[in-house]
Subunit: 161 residues, 2 copies
């Protein structure tokens, strides 16, 4: 059925390797494509993702942004400081829960969305496939990510106590 072992293992190894290379290469090609487009905006690719998250919903705590992007505070804290230094966001402690730091867009940060629209268009052209194809690929990648994430957390699902 799903698993036969034997000499199909060689295919498995090679496919694994090829899938490695493919997703690794595609992800980096993506960031390389963005880089020159984001440079005029003064943003790196991860910073751009954070801005998108904030354009979708302003005034979020760091944790919420981290969940959306799959990043932890070790990555986000310095990144957000740079966005603050660039004058795009502000960081202030939540009044109700002082553990949280809420990230909000400044006027400049909000206005940057307009320029970002041009970036999205350029990427759309570079991706060079139809809308439907892009949607299909997006869904496949999301599904893959979910399966990988689930498989990774299968070690300790719950103490069953």
């Amino acid at each position: 059925m799903q698993k036969k072992a034997s000499n199909a293992d060689n295919f498995e190894i090679e496919l694994d390797a090829q899938l490695c290379f493919a997703i690794y290469g595609a992800a980096h090609a993506f960031t390389r494509t963005y880089k020159p487009l984001l440079e005029p905006l003064g943003l790196t690719y991860p910073q751009y993702l954070v801005m998108i998250a904030l354009w979708e919903e302003d005034d979020q705590p760091v944790k919420a942004i981290g969940d959306r992007l799959g990043l932890d505070s070790g990555t986000l804290s310095p990144l957000l400081k740079r966005l603050e230094q660039s004058g795009l966001v502000t960081r202030k402690r939540d009044c109700d829960d002082e553990r949280q730091v809420r990230i909000s867009l400044t006027k400049k940060g909000t206005e940057l969305k307009t320029q970002a629209a041009g970036v999205a268009g350029a990427i759309g052209r570079a991706v060079g496939c139809s809308f439907d194809e892009a949607v299909a690929l997006r869904d496949k990648l999301i599904a893959l990510k979910q399966r990988l994430t689930k498989a990774g957390s299968e070690k300790d699902p719950l103490p069953s106590a």
Copy 2:
């Protein structure tokens, strides 16, 4: 509104954003899945990719590995030094062309391939889709990468001087 355009632009922007997030998330989920599997081997994910390239073909110059993985010497030089320190590869100047440094597997490096087979199997399970699906996804990603790379190099085809 500085830009009117059609309201299909909104879809474009959102799809762009979603594709961003999807590929970004999938790539990181991939590396996170590998991490615990590679830890017993003493390899990071990029180091694993280099080892795969060497298992496919031993005794390659740094440049060839860089082309295969899409990495430059700025990334590879320190990485290869770590692999050398781990006793997995050797680095020696090519006799015919002393600019090149040829990377070769040590006995230990060659033997590591056996253990890596188990890694591939585990990943196959984590990916959790059929062989055909994996092949299709791989091909889509490779095609995407090629389109992105080509689009990126369209800026300066030739100086035409």
